[in-house]
């Protein structure tokens, strides 16, 4: 084997977002030698962009809140195909994880009594999201980063993992490259934690950055791990639609939590027109009650704008399709109307939603304290991911763990806002703890030079092809994939279109295998994009195949040809794994039986 720069660890964490950093902190605390790899600079991962808040039943604003309510909200939001044990652990442990951040220096907004302030969010019964204005993710990632760097972990910034290494059935580390200089890097490790985030770059309109190419999903899949719930892609109801260059950028749900309303071109609050049966008891039936709810009236029910994201997104699509949309193909989101209610509304909005104010002012010339925003759905979050054990976060491959957005189970068919940041903390900690434990209990691994050499050879092929005639750049292929997924496997799906998408993926795969790059290996974004392509294609195929298999509509997955929910389909998750022939295999896995006590909790909260 050629000589590669080598860094050996007990626990290798791939990803430096909230989940990766929380994992690394825990594993370091357990005495493991920890390495962290990130494609961007430290502190720039997606977590930094989270706005609205982190969900935890602290009960600081409404003392009726507790883990049981949070648990049942999460299950209801996920349409009951969540891993109930993960939902239980999450609801129980989130408050401690949030308080712990304060011990590490985080400064959340405060209640009058000086406790952590909590705000309303879609699908959460009580005000539950601890937050800092609308920059909660920044607070969280900076806190973890600043705490973590003093814990002894080594961080490899701007490095990308290309493949996981195996030693027999067990994971043995990873192989990748340094983006800045283009050198290959070898990371032997006794345990590996995937914390790579989501897949949003598979779609054209997305709130996600270039990083979200589903690397962790694809790495796990090729290492033999099982993926789950891949049909559930969350389209956030409110992304910017104009100007074109900002299409997809997120507008936080916090706008609606603070009293913002949705209107169509006729000025109608259309969300009142369609309130799903299982939320009717909890939803206001008139605007006045809705407003009172957002202002903290404990006897009021939430406005329909704060129904779950899947439902709100579909109502918006309906308004647009039926010709009641805004000029640039969205609908209106209006927070400025609260001037009718609050004397100092302008100041209030700027204080509660500073970065939204800033974002619209600078990017769209809109003053949100004075006029409505135009918004439409945007690809936002991946519920599906690596199937893991609820307690330990280990995948079906020994020594391979996953945490955060790239793991599946907690959110079921639809994630509630705020439940991701808490997911990162709760399961990041668990992954770190158990990965360190696994490394301690299991002996050394051996690196297989054949696997390494193969990966190195494949990574350099685009340069060889770059010189040949007919080689195509990676950007165009990625762009075509995004458009196709947006059109054929988007918010509203049907069989014929998804079959077309499968054929399209096959063709794109052929094109990708001919993709060439020019220039050299130094910080070459074209090369990087070429190497992300196979991951995006694997993930797109998994989404499409799982979505074809689910012949019903549930949560974020909506089928035009099967518009109803089918109770039979509520009894299993869909699994994706690589078959012996190398092809993608889809199976149905029955849900584990929920213990009686948890069933009772759900019953009580109905």
């Amino acid at each position: 084997m050629a000589e590669y720069q080598t860094h050996a660890y007990d626990v290798l964490v791939i990803g430096a977002g909230g989940s990766g950093l929380r994992t690394a902190i825990e594993a370091s605390a357990a005495g493991a030698r920890v390495g962290v790899i990130t494609k961007s600079l430290l502190g720039k991962a997606h977590t930094v962009m989270a706005e609205g808040g982190v969900a935890a039943a602290l009960g600081n604003v409404d003392e009726r809140d507790n883990w049981r309510v949070h648990f049942s909200d999460t299950m209801r939001g996920g349409q009951y195909i969540n891993n109930w044990r993960m939902a239980e652990l999450h609801a129980k442990e989130a408050p401690d994880r949030v308080r712990e951040l304060e011990a590490w220096g985080a400064v959340f907004d405060r209640t009058k009594e000086g406790r952590i302030l909590q705000r309303n969010f879609g699908g959460h019964r009580y005000p539950r999201l601890a937050h800092v204005g609308d920059r909660t993710g920044l607070e969280m990632i900076r806190t973890l980063q600043d705490h973590g760097i003093h814990q002894g972990m080594e961080v490899h910034m701007e490095c990308t993992v290309l493949t996981l290494l195996m030693d027999g059935g067990r994971v043995a580390g990873a192989f990748g490259y340094d983006r800045e200089r283009g050198h290959f890097l070898l990371f032997p490790a006794k345990a590996v934690v995937l914390a790579t985030g989501g897949i949003g770059r598979a779609y054209r309109i997305t709130s996600n950055s270039w990083e979200y190419t589903g690397d962790g999903h694809a790495l796990a899949y090729h290492a033999g791990a099982t993926l789950m719930d891949m049909e559930f892609v969350q389209f956030h109801p409110t992304g910017m639609v104009w100007p074109p260059s900002v299409q997809g950028i997120l507008v936080t749900e916090g706008v609606r939590g603070e009293g913002g309303v949705l209107r169509n071109s006729h000025g109608r609050r259309f969300m009142f027109d369609d309130i799903p049966e299982n939320y009717r008891n909890q939803t206001a039936d008139n605007p006045e009650e809705g407003w009172r709810y957002t202002q903290g009236d404990k006897n009021a029910r939430r406005p329909p704008e704060l129904l779950t994201r899947d439902h709100v997104a579909r109502c918006i699509v309906r308004e647009i399709k039926e010709g009641r949309g805004s000029p640039h193909g969205g609908v209106y989101l209006d927070i400025s109307w609260i001037k009718e209610k609050l004397p100092n509304s302008e100041e209030h909005i700027k204080r509660k939603l500073p970065s939204m104010y800033h974002q619209f002012k600078q990017l769209a010339d809109i003053d949100i304290t004075k006029e409505p925003m135009e918004i439409g759905p945007t690809t936002h979050y991946m519920m599906g991911g690596v199937r893991v054990d609820a307690e330990t976060q280990m995948s079906s491959v020994p020594g391979l763990f996953a945490a955060g957005e790239c793991a599946a189970g907690l959110h079921g068919a639809n994630r509630l806002g705020g439940n991701s940041l808490s997911d990162l903390l709760v399961f990041g900690k668990r992954a770190g703890q158990y990965a360190a434990c696994f490394a301690k209990e299991n002996g050394d691994i051996a690196v297989d030079s054949v696997q390494v050499e193969r990966a190195a050879r494949e990574a350099l092929l685009p340069f060889e092809r770059g010189q040949k005639a007919g080689a195509e750049g990676a950007y165009q292929i990625q762009h075509d994939l995004q458009s196709m997924m947006q059109d054929l496997v988007g918010i509203v799906r049907k069989e014929s279109e998804m079959k077309q998408a499968l054929e399209g993926i096959q063709k794109l795969r052929e094109r990708a295998s001919r993709a060439g790059v020019n220039g050299n290996r130094e910080f070459n974004n074209g090369w990087h994009t070429a190497m992300d392509l196979p991951n995006l294609l694997s993930v797109s195929e998994a989404i499409t195949r799982a979505a074809l298999e689910r012949e019903e509509s549930r949560g974020a997955h909506f089928r035009d040809d099967w518009p109803e929910k089918n109770p039979e389909y509520g009894k299993f998750n869909i699994l994706v794994r690589q078959g012996r022939d190398g092809g993608m295999q889809i199976t149905r896995e029955p849900l584990a039986e929920m213990p009686h006590e948890l069933k009772q909790v759900i019953e009580e909260m109905k």
Binding site: G43, V107, R110, L138, L363, G473, E522
Partner: protein, 248 residues
């Protein structure tokens, strides 16, 4: 469709030059959109950093027509497109390639600042009570997105290259956030004076003027830190009192 020309720095630590790229532009575009369009269509191997496209991550710092700015928050409508728009990397840091500079020095500096050390929790669940008015001040500092544009303009770093003696405005903001944290028990004034040399700053306010988060770096962070150093080390009366009572 309208077009505009972007004069982008291409090169690495061994040398480089400006190269002109003409591309289509449309309403609402920001500089980052144009640069990424050039990258996708004309210069696949160009090095550009970005993540959020919304001024939240601090990745896309550069110098646009000579002004330190975030590319993603600079609308083309604010620039004169009848002339080529120059886009270059931050000049204070070593160049890696094209628009990407080596900012790793900043990450090393942070490690040299004494970390947060809270007092014992007020309650058995590990929590504290802090009023909103007590945290407003440091919440301003904690808005920092680590774009390092303030470091880029500071003459102590840019012209005088005091990288091994001076931590720069970003890290004075960071230190201020720790020093003024209502729960923190540690002190960083000695380091500020001897190791991090807050004294080198002569309050030119260049850093404050470029901060995309509009943090009042000089007035709210640096000046109060300088005052702390003065109070602790140069105030003769205080010095005497400290000596008598035997404090540090």
């Amino acid at each position: 469709m309208a077009t505009a020309t972007f004069r982008i720095w291409r090169g690495n630590d061994r040398g480089g030059k400006f190269q002109d790229y003409t591309t289509e532009v449309s309403e609402g575009m920001v500089v980052l959109d144009a640069v990424l369009k050039v990258q996708a269509e004309q210069a696949n191997d160009m090095a550009v950093r970005w993540n959020c496209k919304a001024g939240k991550c601090g990745s896309c710092s550069s110098e646009i027509n000579g002004n330190p700015k975030l590319m993603c928050m600079t609308r083309l409508s604010t620039l004169d497109l009848t002339q080529a728009v120059t886009v270059e990397p931050m000049r204070t840091f070593p160049l890696i390639k094209d628009l990407a500079t080596d900012v790793s020095w900043n990450f090393h500096v942070k490690k040299t600042i004494r970390k947060f050390a809270p007092r014992k929790p007020d309650f058995s669940d590990g929590s504290w009570r802090m009023g909103q008015k007590d945290v407003n001040r440091i919440q301003e500092f904690r808005k920092c997105i680590e774009c390092f544009l303030c470091q880029d303009v500071c003459h102590v770093l840019r012209e005088h290259k005091k990288f091994d003696q001076f931590i720069g405005p970003r890290f004075f903001v960071h230190t201020a956030a720790l020093e003024m944290h209502p729960l923190d028990t540690d002190t960083r004034t000695e380091d500020l004076k001897d190791k991090h040399n807050v004294g080198y700053c002569n309050i030119t306010t260049c850093c404050r003027k470029v901060c995309p988060e509009e943090i009042t770096i000089t007035e709210n962070a640096i000046i109060p830190l300088k005052e702390r150093v003065v109070d602790e080390y140069y105030d003769p009366l205080r010095k005497l009192v400290m000596k008598i009572i035997g404090a540090k």
